[in-house]
Symmetry: C2
Subunit: 421 residues, 2 copies
């Protein structure tokens, strides 16, 4: 294969789109305004039907399909030298309950499209190309999220993963794998690491659309700090209690909510801060609440700045508690350090997209992805394409076909670059 | 009766306390820390048992008991001239589900204690003295609250009141009256107004205790403005949505909550402002909420200032909505203008308490009371006594015996002053 031949290769965007549509029909959820979403929770009958379809496509392409002990599916397309570690492309096909048709599915089906494009063009890469479907990325049914890729890279013991119970019906993950026929014979964690890992994913946020950029060059995954605050004051009558005698946890919760917005502004950059959950008790119109429980979600790509944000939150809580005469108890719900992708891989994605004529933007991922697990064992990068209105985990989730095609072509060219021996 | 004899009359505080204890045993709720609360919701079996006990006490005192069509009980102790309109003392004996033993009950039983004190001393007043028990003051089971006294003064049609359905079991108020034997033959609204109305009540707030004052001279009842705000923004991922692209109804709700505290401070005086109810949706740690529903409770004794507060709230909502790019819909849940008690009656309560050697404080009532309904038809006043820790509608509700005695003596002397022809 000449370099010129490889450079001119393009995916068949309509074939990829048709697979997205076909897979999206399994567990389809139709909304009142024409939305076409998807509900395929991990290891349900719908997930099995989706897996069966994807495995059939893999087999039809002549790929060697293996299923491992935690249900991860890896299909390998042979290269010129199968002694070499493969370039892996992957993502997940499980969805949240009110999911869309692109989140995860795009990364897997674009991988198949890359393989089919190579086959159709008669292009043989030096290295094998593997397409992976990781189990339970969403964590909507079995916690933690990214479970399949976490076990794949050795970050969680297989036995512990198999013993996880479903949030909905209490089913055991290992039993559900057997039930749907995806408790495979291949050992997990994997025996060897891929040569490189690439994941195409929808952005799930509004930045690319807002800036009119087709390709997001993902530099890493933000660190996450989740804190639950329980604020205890003095419940009292809204009419008979003068302002000066109040110990109002609702006022303190509001001041914290306003304060974390200020903290994000002060720290700038990628810092985000969100109060997503807030519950008043007793939650009555004419009663100053006794307690308020709320959460603060802080994220940053820089661990030091994330720790700074946590420190500012703690100081804010202490100051407000003293001023109002309430108690603020903190509990950490989750804490992950930031993940930085391999600089050379990030450069490769950027250069590839630019060469294909696309506007690009370097950006962190605000959400978690299987790629952050694979980054523990091999050089990794991600490619983002725009989400219409920034929506995801929503049946209105959509990405325009032109952006799907652009992302898949960047993936194809990056795979070609990585698959040279 | 000489003036000197009347001035030296005092209630039997231990007899009054014993009646409070006995009535409190009906529907008693015992807390884990020795709290002795009460649950006698309007027109339940417990309410009937409480009424039966009070009516027996009234009959034992030789009072003429009448029961009207909405279940209000009025017992009349004869005066020298029964052609004259009576001085009425009253309150209610229904409670909220987690109620105390003093709220309402004190006003009724102190009335009986006044009558028994007169009888024991052989003192005959010119005017009759009536003791009233009004139906469903709390509104905990049948809305609106203060229903019995509202119908009594002609503020609500009897038929409408009888058709009200219970919030808990859907029972019809009129049917429940019949069931418990308190659908009486006396017409309601009442044929004639009392000469004066006096109500002794616990403060249900912390002011008297905080200032070390035994007797609150109630100048009126605060006007109440309840607004429900529904804030609609753009639900989005907490990790993938930069701060600058957010339309966060939680942040706006927090800013309103902080803002109403500021409005109360700016207006000063008796202005209070409370956010008691706040609900996030979908209420997930990593999702910027789609909507937040909250309530704002504004109260003031001055209608013009209350309107000013409402205007400032509306302006605040509009400003915040525009800045954040969210919609804020307002709905009025309740609106009552302030009630000012009769100045001469207020002066009488103050002078009486002072003559008895008590420290007094003029204050509005932040909560609603039957007295505000009676104020529509006759000169009215209220006497407040301290609530320990400001607690009410709570099984830990308590008022010290010395304050019960002080309040009842002020009531006795004020009744004597009003009952002279």
């Amino acid at each position: 294969m000449s370099r010129a031949t490889a450079d001119s290769l393009r995916v068949d965007a309509s074939r990829l789109w048709a697979r997205l549509e076909a897979l999206g029909e399994i567990g389809a959820v139709h909304g009142p305004n024409g939305e076409r979403g998807c509900a395929r929770l991990a290891l349900t009958d719908a997930d099995r039907d989706g897996r069966d379809l994807v495995v059939r496509w893999m087999t039809d392409l002549g790929m060697a399909v293996s299923i491992d002990a935690v249900g991860n599916v890896v299909a390998v397309h042979a290269g010129a030298n199968d002694e070499l570690a493969p370039v892996m492309v992957g993502s997940h096909i499980d969805t949240v309950r009110t999911g869309g048709r692109f989140d995860g599915n795009l990364g897997v089906l674009a991988g198949l499209e890359v393989v089919e494009t190579l086959i159709t063009a008669g292009v043989v890469t030096d290295r094998p190309v593997a397409v992976a479907v990781f189990t339970d990325e969403e964590g909507a049914r079995f916690q933690p999220d990214m479970l399949g890729s976490l076990v794949y890279v050795g970050g969680m013991a297989l036995e512990d993963a198999l013993d996880v119970r479903a949030a909905d019906d209490g089913a055991r993950l290992g039993d559900e794998l057997v039930r749907i026929g995806y408790a495979g014979p291949t050992p997990c964690p994997a025996a060897g690491a891929p040569h490189r890992y690439l994941e195409l994913h929808i952005e799930q946020g509004p930045v690319l659309e807002d800036e009119g950029v087709a390709i997001g060059v993902v530099t890493g995954v933000q660190g996450i700090s989740w804190t639950e605050l329980t604020i205890t004051g003095q419940s009292a009558h809204a009419g008979t209690t003068p302002m000066r005698l109040r110990h109002d946890p609702g006022f303190v919760a509001a001041s914290i909510t306003a304060g974390v917005r200020r903290i994000a502004a002060e720290l700038g950059g990628t810092q985000v801060a969100t109060v997503g959950r807030c519950e008043f008790s007793p939650n009555l119109v004419n009663v100053i609440p006794a307690t308020v429980t709320m959460t603060v979600d802080l994220r940053n790509t820089d661990e030091a700045i994330l720790q700074d944000a946590e420190g500012r939150l703690a100081h804010l809580c202490a100051t407000l508690a003293a001023a109002e005469g309430v108690a603020v108890a903190q509990r950490t719900l989750a804490r992950f350090e930031p993940v930085a992708f391999d600089p050379a891989m990030v450069d490769l994605v950027e250069a590839t997209a630019t060469a294909l004529g696309h506007r690009t933007r370097r950006m962190p991922s605000g959400a978690g992805h299987d790629a952050q697990m694979l980054a523990r064992v091999c050089p990794t990068a991600m490619i983002f394409v725009p989400s219409v209105n920034g929506l995801s985990h929503n049946i209105a989730e959509h990405t325009e076909p032109e952006h799907i095609a652009a992302g898949a072509d960047v993936l194809l060219q990056a795979v070609l670059a990585c698959a040279s021996a």
